[in-house]
Amino acid sequence: MKPFTYQRALSVDTAVAESSERCRLLAGGIDLLGELKEGLVEADKVVAVTRIPGLDTIEKKSAGWTIGANVTVATIAAHADLARAFPGLAAAARDVASPQIRHVSTVAGNLLQHSRCWYYRHRDVTCMKKGGDVCYAREGEHKYHALFTGGYCISPLVSSLAVALTVLDASVVVRGRGGERRLTMAELYAPAWDDHAVHHAIVPGEMLTAIEIPLAARRSAFVQASEKASFDWALVSCAVSLELEGGVVRQARIALGAVSPVPYRDERAEKALVGTRLDETTADAAAALLLEKAEPLPHNAYKVPIARALIKRALLAAATPG
């Protein structure tokens, strides 16, 4: 690890002013410190944002909910009102890593965490994502990699919260030097779809300050499959939200995690559900549509049947009152 200086920002303005290619913002540090220690990234300066006042609250306003950037994953998992409004989000938070990690990692850090591709994380491998010229995973070990991508890098998005928030039509509030912008979850990850060099749309000089979730009469659910019961990443995760009227679907959202550099959606699958009643058959048909464009590689094709099962489970769970 290269030496760097450390500063604690007490306002968003300071953090934004400091943030640059060589100055990284630090939240819980689970992701960033790992990158620094392994020498994957270098920084001259690290600015902690977790003491900035006002960013650690969860509030319900008339238009919707606002979750401050510094709210921890554990807080989201334990927030009873939030869980009632968005059971899928609470479930996603509860499944993240382990209690220790949930207690320090923040929602912003979780959304903006970088690739967990084993090659990307390896100190002695320089793949495309780190400026090299090959993707080792494609020809090598890609058991945990993406089924859908618009580019060559197959490192999937691993943030469970991103997947859960996507189906809630959430957006993120981002402060830059020139002012504030709002991005939908799709916009937040869009650049990673085909640009192997990036992880998301936030650039140096910007800071994510909050997540906004609109109020809507939606039911939501989140399920994930892993290899271990705890302290493990999702092989595949799936979040859904449904607007139902008399048992008939009026609007549906389905997003998959860990199978694409973005939260993976396909409008065709969502539209196919509109006007139907959810049961095994309609859920499976939607699942098949959502997975139609999957491009499995030799070691990750097993994610297709897992995704299919999870989509069905999530849809049926969201459709079942409870």
């Binding site: 002695d124 080792y136 290899e227 019961a229 499995p296 030799p298 099962a309």
Partner: protein, 709 residues
């Protein structure tokens, strides 16, 4: 013949660890915690190449870094590197930061060479060679008994299968290494080791110091599982750095280092055929197998438990068999003895195919084993275990439970046969009645301190808390290394001997008819001013070898996600005469958890293109966590007449096999390689589109195709 007391007060009962409070409060000092005055921080520079010729290493820039006190080469001159992580140089500095800066400053000139890190590729005739002068595979070793062809001809059914086990890494909680302090021509080393005396001899030999000028200490250590018998490259580097710097040096490996270079359990590939009569009696067994112990197998260090050989047909009685085992070398870290070397892989192959046979013959797997297991004790254990576990009610036709989440059960057996011996011990009884027992053994976390206290308390009529146990100092009377599940069988007879001698001597000096228990203090007062110090040694007749065990597992498999959950493991273990039930139970629990990791999660993943190990940390090298641990039911057969036996290793042998059989029973299809991960479960169920393309068997089959059978 000496005999253990018939109606014991402590032996066979449950005494909490005598050092438990020290451990939970942090007062226990592990090698990792030792911080002598002025201690420097040591680090190792490792090869970034899987194969390379190192032409020069320039340490000068490292020596210029502020705070650096010493920088040394592992070996002088140009040299060959045979795996990613091989040690090249080491640095000692006043801070971690300076040491790491110095590592980065070292200039290594290397000529990278082609490497091969996958077994099936290494076996090809045109593969890059690990050792230029020899091919990566040899001709193999053959073993034969009876007439296999006749045996197969006599069989009513023959089953065949191909089974594979992964490379497993020891991953003790405390990494390898220690603190070395070289002063006035004498070396003191606090080392995390399973063998105090071996480390002393190793250091004295390598540094050309008289053995009486080297002292090795290691009162507490955090696990070794077979990988910590010697000083290791890191131990020697710490000593050399201390010598060069003139200050103590602490060199403990990082988890990254630990994953690469200090041992592992070799992988195996087993093509097995078994023939049996319609009643289940085995008539013939044949096996062609490959195994990989990393780079070392092809080199001069091959042999002993660092090769990939394993017993076959393991514990079963088969009149006719033929086996051939071939070593394959790859550019990867070397193997080391690992808890019951050879046995878990051996068990996985034979127990898997026995279940296939049972299904084919329509015989209950437990009955099939009882029929072919020559050990009467284990036959009884199967019946006991079946009773505790509820086997009869739980065992159903494979894949027959309803719903997407299916349950299944499996069983497997184990054997262990390593006798103890070769230990000396010393007792010091003070006139105030206090007792100290000294022995140059060590406590890997298994409870040696407690076991010694229990035995001494029992014999002297005192309580375990009255006994001061001092171990893990090479100045104490020597004992062997703690391996082969031999610590308890080696140490307790020596403790028995010193205690018996102390009693006799006290009886003589005090003139009392019985000096134990209530009389103890009175007798000791008669010693006058000097304590009584006596030596003793291991004596025959108190310990034995040849234990057996049986385990049964129940699992739940989600056939849509491939997720496997172990619900319950029942273990019936012959422990001979149990010395302390609580610590023995810990061993069984730990062995079973380790077996769960072997069955479901652990795997060293090598990358072909770069030659690196891809998962050198606990996030990606997956170990079972507490959430993955099922209900564990352990029953010991406490058999006084069988004398003291070691159980640390046998308890881990059958777990993975029992789990694998349970998974096959649950889903009606077999995952034939470890670890049993969701991708393989789904592929076995035929649910993965295009999985044929990725059938790992295709890759392994090429191993068997490279050489004529």
């Amino acid at each position: 013949m000496p005999e253990w007391p018939k109606d014991p007060k402590y032996i066979g009962k449950s005494t909490p660890r005598v050092d438990g409070a020290k451990k939970v409060s942090g007062a226990a000092k592990y090698a990792h915690d030792v911080q002598p005055e002025g201690c420097l921080y040591g680090v190792v520079l490792r090869s970034r190449w899987a194969a390379a010729k190192i032409t020069s290493i320039d340490l000068a820039p490292a020596l210029k870094v502020r705070g650096v006190k010493a920088a040394i080469l592992v070996r002088e001159g140009s040299r060959q590197v045979r795996y990613y992580g091989d040690e090249l140089a080491a640095v000692a500095a006043t801070s971690k930061r300076a040491a790491l800066d110095a590592l980065r400053a070292i200039k290594v000139v290397a000529e990278p060479q082609p490497h091969v890190v996958k077994e099936h590729l290494a076996a090809r005739p045109d593969a890059p060679r690990v050792f230029a002068e020899t091919p990566n595979t040899g001709a193999g070793r053959e073993r034969k008994q009876g007439d296999p062809d006749k045996g197969f001809a006599e069989a009513d059914v023959v089953v065949e299968g191909l089974y594979a086990t992964q490379v497993e890494i020891h991953q003790p909680m405390e990494t390898h290494g220690g603190v070395a302090s070289f002063k006035d021509g004498e070396l003191t080393a606090w080392h995390s080791t399973q063998g105090i005396s071996g480390v002393r001899d190793g250091l004295s030999g390598a540094l050309e110091l008289p053995q009486n000028k080297v002292r090795v200490l290691g009162e507490f250590m955090g696990g070794g599982f077979g990988s910590k018998f010697s000083a290791g490259v890191e131990g020697l580097l710490a000593a050399r750095l201390s010598q060069a710097a003139g200050a103590p040096v602490r060199l403990m490996l990082t988890r990254f280092d630990e994953s690469l270079a200090v041992g592992n359990r070799p992988s195996t590939f087993q093509k097995i055929r078994v023939g049996a009569r319609a009643d289940g009696t085995l008539t013939a067994f044949s096996m062609e197998s490959y195994g990989c112990a990393g780079y070392a197998a092809g080199g001069p260090s091959a042999g002993g438990s660092t090769n990939s050989g394993f017993p076959a047909p393991y514990i079963y009685r088969v009149p006719n068999f033929r086996t051939r085992h071939t070593e394959v070398s790859i550019h990867a870290g070397p193997a080391a003895a690992f808890r019951a070397p050879g046995c878990p892989p051996a068990s996985f192959g034979i127990e898997s195919i026995l279940d296939e046979l049972a299904v084919k013959l329509g015989i209950d797997p437990v009955e099939l084993r009882i029929k072919n297991d020559p050990m009467e004790l284990r036959q009884r254990q199967y019946r006991m275990a079946a009773e505790r576990f509820g086997w009869a009610a739980k065992y159903r036709k494979p894949g027959s439970s309803s719903g997407p989440v299916k349950t299944g059960v499996g069983c497997a057996g184990s054997a262990w046969r390593v006798p103890g011996g070769g230990t000396q011990a010393e007792i010091e009884v003070s006139p105030d009645g206090s007792v100290e027992i000294r022995c140059g053994t060590q406590d890997l976390g298994t409870g040696t301190h407690t076991v010694i206290a229990v035995v001494a308390a029992e014999l002297l009529g005192l309580t375990p808390a009255d006994i001061q146990v001092r171990i893990a100092d090479s100045r104490f009377p020597p004992s062997g290394a703690s391996g082969g599940s031999m610590t308890v069988t080696s140490v307790t007879p020596a403790v028995f001997d010193v205690c018996t001698k102390a009693i006799e001597e006290l009886m003589r000096t005090s003139g009392l008819a019985d000096v134990r228990g209530p009389q103890w203090r009175a007798a000791c007062r008669k010693l006058g001013v000097s304590p009584l110090v006596l030596q003793g040694r291991w004596i025959d007749g108190l310990s034995a070898a040849g234990t057996g065990g049986v385990q049964m597992a129940e699992v739940e498999v989600d056939t849509e996600t491939g997720f496997v959950r172990v619900k319950r493991v029942t273990c019936v273990q012959d422990a001979g005469l149990l010395v302390n039930e609580l610590t023995a139970r810990s061993q069984a629990n730990g062995g079973i958890m380790m077996g769960i990791g072997y069955a479901l999660y652990e795997n060293r993943v090598m990358d072909s293109t770069s030659g690196v190990m891809l998962n050198p940390n606990f996030e990606t090298y997956k170990l079972p966590g507490i959430a993955d641990v099922p209900e564990i039911d352990v029953a010991f057969m406490d058999l006084l007449e069988r004398r003291v036996m070691g159980i640390g290793e046998p308890v881990t042998i059958p777990t993975a096999s029992a789990i694998a059989n349970a998974v096959a029973n649950a889903i009606g299809a077999r995952v034939t390689s470890l670890p049993i991960t969701p991708d393989k479960v789904l592929a076995a169920l035929g649910k993965v589109p295009g999985a044929a393309r990725d059938n790992p068997h295709d890759a392994w089959m090429s191993l068997f195709a490279t050489q004529p059978a």
